[in-house]
């Protein structure tokens, strides 16, 4: 049959397009970043000379500044992810269990902030939080406080900004997994004597775990590398690794160190994510086969 060859050509083309895409826009750029991370910084254009040397990696491991910033970023991202989960889960649950005609509009409201630029939304928070901002003005006018509260340029504002900005990324995967949960499983649990809270722990939670993991990763991973929010809302007490990377790159013009931070951060985040995905894969499969 002539169709056989055509078929395999088609297959190659269909599989080839995403491969080409990934190669051109992920593999190639990342290889360049890896190459720069192995280079030596110079005062030239471009500001580096290929080594290959491991000096930059040695620097970011030995200088406590970087590890401290990484630790701080992980802590802030982890706290924000947990808060997002606790806010996002009830919201996702309520949307998934709302009348079908309400689900679309409610989801649209979750996505609505994306219609405005991320940067503008963070600036908007600045106008709310700064000493002369709306929140402080209202509180002073009401006589609740005498002097403006320090709401900005601290860890609180960074957490607030990250939680605000990333909450939709938590809600959407949670919604998807809660919405797929067969309500008759909860009825069966109730029928077998399970009280609402135990029903949630023994049925809802384990079956929506893929959504919890996906949502947490979608918040945690970009939050660790976040630099706009700590730059605009943070203060000197909130060094984050993404902000440091940005400083190395633009302020210090030390591309190799910036690149090595980027590579190290990627490795640090990709490996655990890959392991988690591998662990959760069979669970996903099991859900789909079940009637």
């Amino acid at each position: 049959m002539t169709g056989g060859r055509e078929h395999s050509l088609m297959r190659a083309a269909v599989l080839g397009v995403p491969w080409l895409w990934l190669s051109a826009f992920i593999l190639l750029p990342f290889s360049i970043v890896v190459a720069i991370s192995l280079s030596v910084a110079t005062d030239a254009q471009p500001p580096y000379v290929f080594g290959p040397v491991l000096d930059n990696y040695r620097l970011i491991v030995e200088d406590t500044l970087y590890l401290a910033a990484l630790g701080n970023a992980i802590r802030i991202a982890a706290t924000s992810s947990v808060v997002c989960l606790f806010i996002g889960y009830p919201m996702a649950y309520a949307i998934a269990r709302a009348q079908p005609r309400w689900r679309g509009p409610l989801l649209a409201l979750v996505i609505l902030p994306f219609w405005t630029s991320f940067l503008i939304r963070i600036y908007a928070w600045m106008t709310l939080l700064r000493p002369t901002g709306l929140i402080n003005q209202v509180l002073i006018d009401l006589g609740i406080i005498d002097a403006p509260l320090q709401l900005m340029n601290n860890a609180f504002a960074v957490h607030l900004g990250i939680i605000y900005a990333y909450l939709p990324f938590m809600i959407l995967p949670l919604y998807a997994s809660i919405e797929r949960l067969d309500p008759s499983l909860l009825e069966a649990a109730a029928d077998l004597g399970s009280r609402p809270w135990r029903r949630f722990l023994s049925v809802t939670l384990p079956l929506t775990l893929p959504g919890i993991v996906a949502g947490t990763l979608l918040v945690f991973v970009p939050a660790v590398g976040e630099f706009v929010i700590p730059e605009l809302l943070g203060g000197p007490d909130t060094p984050m690794i993404g902000r440091l990377l940005w400083t190395e790159f633009f302020n210090n013009r030390d591309w190799p160190v910036a690149a090595s931070i980027a590579v190290a951060l990627t490795a640090l985040l990709v490996v655990p994510v890959a392991i988690l995905q591998h662990m959760l894969a069979p669970r996903e499969e099991a859900r789909e086969v079940n009637p």
Partner: protein, 363 residues
């Protein structure tokens, strides 16, 4: 099987329920005794599943009471009722093994571990699934899933087991096998079963008693035999099995015998007086196909003459479709193997049935 009607296990009292203003159940009353295998039979939308869910506590009635052993459980949530359910989709927990599924209900009661293990083992044996204890639901066939669902809901030894269309997802052959098994298991555990089904064959073959439901009401309750032989209404008569109806008017009533003049202009029909019908009433005479015969019956039998339109071969018997004048087309079941000649399409035949075979149905 002891059926104690004086103190029923389950008593459904004046239950009404509507969804968004559309009535699903209207003033339903029902009493079910201990050890019964009771079927709720009805077409989809008849309210049978709603009634089951109200008994389970998964739905609240608008009015009325549910009592179990005399105790009012109307206000109790599902998790506090001594009732367990086999769901139509089985609703097995996909993230648990067969063993985990069966143990689930027992764990809710915080029973000692040894008790749970022993009960799970016992249930696995009961449904012959011991070898599959470590499997997950998605690794099981439809029939195996059903067994697990049955074991899971029997494990708590409920006072009442509810089964919502338990055979609907199975193929025909498996369904017949599971019917026999279900009856065997029910006898062994001695628990009262209430089964919801739209399949009249299933209801008739399984149930010790059944209720026929139509548009949110129970239209007849009785043993399969009573309901088959003495349907209380046209609906029941036509819903359960095949039946021939002769519409007419009572013209005489004498000595326990009614004479009905059929609307189709044929000769008068004689029927023994089952239902209370007076002269002048519009009634239908209902006759089961197997109670009719081709050819002339004994003296006093009703006889109609007609044209054979079609002969339907069904294995152990054939159904002869006979067109009677301007009247209805009747079906006569003719068993094979008794040496009688089978009429063929185009024959002019006589169809007869004794007066006792006709059931009088009022509107």
């Amino acid at each position: 099987m002891s059926t104690d009607h004086r103190r029923p296990l389950l008593s459904v009292e004046s239950i009404s329920k509507s969804f968004a203003g559309i009535p699903a159940l209207a003033d339903v009353n029902l009493q079910i005794g201990r050890g019964e295998l009771f079927a709720l039979l009805g077409a989809s939308g008849s309210g049978k599943t709603t009634l089951l869910r109200i008994i389970a506590g998964l739905e609240r009635p608008d009015s009325g009471r549910i009592r179990i052993e005399g105790r009012d459980v109307t206000g109790l949530p599902a998790y506090e009722r001594p009732v367990n359910t086999v769901f139509q989709s089985y609703a097995l927990f996909p993230h648990m093994t067969v063993r985990g599924n069966i143990a689930f209900g027992l764990k809710q009661d915080r029973l000692p571990r040894e008790t749970i293990e022993a009960r799970v083992r016992e249930m696995l044996e009961l449904v012959q699934m011991s070898e599959y204890a470590a499997r997950r639901p998605h690794q099981l066939s439809g029939g195996q899933r059903q067994r697990v669902a049955l074991a899971r809901s029997l494990a708590k030894l409920p006072k009442l087991l509810l089964l919502d269309e338990p055979m609907a997802a199975l193929d025909r052959k498996l369904r017949e096998q599971m019917r026999v098994e279900l009856v065997t298991i029910q006898k062994r555990v001695g628990i009262t079963f209430i089964l919801v089904t739209h399949d009249q064959e299933e209801a008739l073959s399984l149930a010790s008693r059944l209720a026929v439901m139509e548009r949110g009401r129970i239209v007849q309750v009785g043993t399969p035999r009573e309901i088959y032989d003495r349907p209380a209404s046209r609906f029941v008569a036509s819903f359960i099995g095949q039946i021939n109806l002769f519409e007419g008017r009572v013209i005489e009533r004498a000595g326990g015998m009614l004479t009905i003049r059929p609307d189709d202009g044929g000769p008068d029909i004689r029927a023994t007086d089952g239902a209370a019908a007076d002269v002048g009433d519009a009634v239908a005479v209902a006759v089961r196909p197997e109670k009719m015969r081709v050819g002339r019956a004994g003296p006093g039998a009703n006889v109609r003459r007609g044209l054979v339109r079609h002969v339907e071969f069904l294995g152990e018997s054939s159904v002869v479709h006979v067109e009677i004048g301007a009247g209805p087309r009747v079906r006569v079941s003719v068993p094979h193997g008794n040496g009688a000649a089978m009429p063929s399409t185009g024959d002019i035949v006589e169809v007869s049935w004794p007066a006792e075979a006709g059931v009088i149905l009022r509107n």
